[in-house]
Assembly symmetry: C2
């Protein structure tokens, strides 16, 4: 069992209607003004924006609103938002949306207390030493951003999809109301399921030290996602399934899966970030293409782990059986598993591999993943 | 899925030798002086006391030491310690020991910022509104006290074993070094295993709303305790088993098992606290007597849950099979399962039931547990 530090101070407020209390949650932290950050204007039509801002007004929390955060959120909007926060001297941020909004909010929060360019945090030119408080109201469960200190943002100019992190970026309070997730489209539900799988499987298949308790916890997360996704595809309004899906998503990246683990790397994320950076493919869709190919490529590095996965998660024998079952399931829920299904062609392999190799270098994974090896993995998905 | 708040700000520092950093962990919270609270003087001979105090001295953290905390810790020592803290104007507490020491530390921490008698917090006469910071260095894994805001203390005069709690009582940092637990005696290892089982099973068998993810998490904790206890009985120095046992213990009462749950009560704890209050029986030993009897008494209230337990945890069919397996295992690891084995007789039933009924009233469980029903459960353990 590897030494570890477990620390996660985010408070989760889980349940129906909890977004209506966001003003009081914020007020309790002595935050008197916030940026309300969101994505599509749909949240206005649906009433969520109104409920959040009414709660702020009720508590006398001054706010500025800024929308337009997109899937694969971009640094341009983050930079603009940092300006707004500084100009209006805002003391906190409320992210209302999915992982893209929460991730952008973290970058903005760090940028708000920094004099240089916020992108510096992503390229290792600056370390996040402080941030204004972040709060979230989640409308999508996938990235785990509501209960971790990480954020991923894309620089469109340099074509880099990079991440930032730091203890001050844990959201203070995150609202998870499964009802707010009931309108997620089937394709985004599928991408979300894949994202959770990837968070778990990157670790599951690469961990060198891997306590049984942690392995079983991860299998519990995967089984929960399998079970609840299938329910939700048929019945999007199933509150309990939506709730368990959401909590599994949070647990997949809030520190619990790292307990006692060492040697793990984020292989599929390293590769997928290149697909997002170059092609703007939704994160989960990119992962869905990469994951089965990567599993094929590495299955002989750890046959026992693959055997265990097949057996525990899908009730079948053999590494290939497990990979086949996972691939079938991704297809069944509508996630792409080939380049063509993701709108890519064989010509895209080398540029993606080149970009991904940049990530590998940044994350210290380049000895394991020379550019050619990344290209070879991607080729397994060109069918 | 029931609405819930999840909040646990305790930082866990898990691993070999981490107690040697306790001074810097404390210093980071701007705490300049502490009470070092401990149980037996053995920690001096074994060097642990010296390592902790050397670390404090290194960081310039002033300290007063106070030992003598016993299993079923008593309010008398807590009151004395509050005086010491106030007299020396100490800013924090380091608990070095097991759950009894950590629980006492929490009571002292609350008492330090309160003008009245610290027992007021236990009998509902006062609410814990503040406390000086608590840090722990654990030498036993059982109660989960290192990562929760609860403490249980006995009032020898009134013969009440009661609890206190409040958000300010989460330890700031807890050190879990499995090596410090390698010298736990086999009987206390057994009692610890039983305590973890009881934390889980009180909830498991009484929850009305019980998400599948949470149920499976609890089964994971139980399986981990079964597996690692058996390893440790043969090989007390097995670091990985000791580590997984410790983490399972922490997870059993740090909030994760309550996620999405409602309707649960703490039945065996309600009864056992009376055995501890009247007879000073080690907590786990008392629980070991109560748990199988209680399961027999309530098995028909929730047959599906008992069937599931038997199947998932012990791989057998039927409620009775599961109860038999659990009872056998308790016996096999050396925990008492009858009154006689715990040094009690049939004459003790009624006084224990009467005392336990006091707990039932305090916890609002008296409609479910009239005194006679508690006596009937206890009689099942008189063999």
């Amino acid at each position: 069992m590897q030494d570890f530090t477990f620390y996660n101070p985010t408070r989760i407020e889980f349940g129906k209607g909890k977004e209506a209390n966001i003003g009081s949650y914020i007020k309790a932290f002595s935050v008197g003004s916030v940026l309300v950050l969101y994505g599509s204007e749909r949240i206005k039509k649906e009433g969520l924006f109104g409920r959040v801002t009414a709660s702020l007004e009720e508590q006398g929390v001054r706010y500025q609103a800024l929308g337009g955060v997109v899937s694969n959120p971009v640094i341009r909007l983050v930079r603009d938002a940092v300006k707004v926060v500084k100009e209006h001297n805002l003391q906190g941020i409320v992210a209302v949306g999915g992982g893209s909004v929460a991730d952008s909010a973290k970058a903005i929060a760090a940028g708000a207390t920094y004099d240089g360019d916020v992108w510096d945090f992503f390229i290792g030119k600056a370390v996040v030493e402080g941030a204004i408080p972040v709060f979230t109201v989640m409308t999508l469960a996938a990235t785990g951003s509501e209960m971790n200190p990480y954020g991923v943002v894309t620089n469109e100019e340099t074509r880099q999809k990079y991440s930032l992190g730091g203890p001050s970026l844990y959201p203070k309070v995150s609202v998870i109301n499964p009802e707010l997730m009931a309108t997620v489209t089937p394709d985004y539900l599928a991408y979300s399921a894949v994202d959770i799988f990837a968070h778990c499987l990157d670790l599951y298949f690469t961990a060198k030290v891997f306590p049984e308790f942690t392995a079983t916890l991860i299998e519990n997360i995967l089984e929960t996602v399998l079970r609840t996704t299938d329910v939700l595809m048929d019945n999007p309004g199933d509150y309990d399934a939506r709730g368990e899906f959401a909590w599994a998503s949070t647990m997949a990246l809030n520190g619990n899966t790292f307990v006692g683990v060492s040697g793990n790397t984020f292989d599929t994320h390293m590769i997928e970030h290149a697909m997002g950076a170059l092609h703007g493919i939704p994160h989960g869709a990119g992962l869905s293409v990469v994951l089965p190919a990567w599993m094929q490529a590495i299955k002989n590095d750890n046959p026992a782990r693959f055997e265990r996965f097949a057996n525990k998660v899908f009730g079948v024998a053999g590494a290939d059986g497990g990979i086949a079952k996972l691939t079938e399931w991704f297809s069944a829920i509508g996630a792409p598993v080939t380049f063509a299904q993701a709108g890519l062609s064989a010509d895209d392999v080398d540029p993606i591999a080149e970009n991904a190799f940049g990530n590998a270098k940044l994350w210290g994974m380049d000895p394991l993943y020379p550019q050619q090896r990344i290209a070879d993995i991607l080729k397994l998905a060109v069918k």
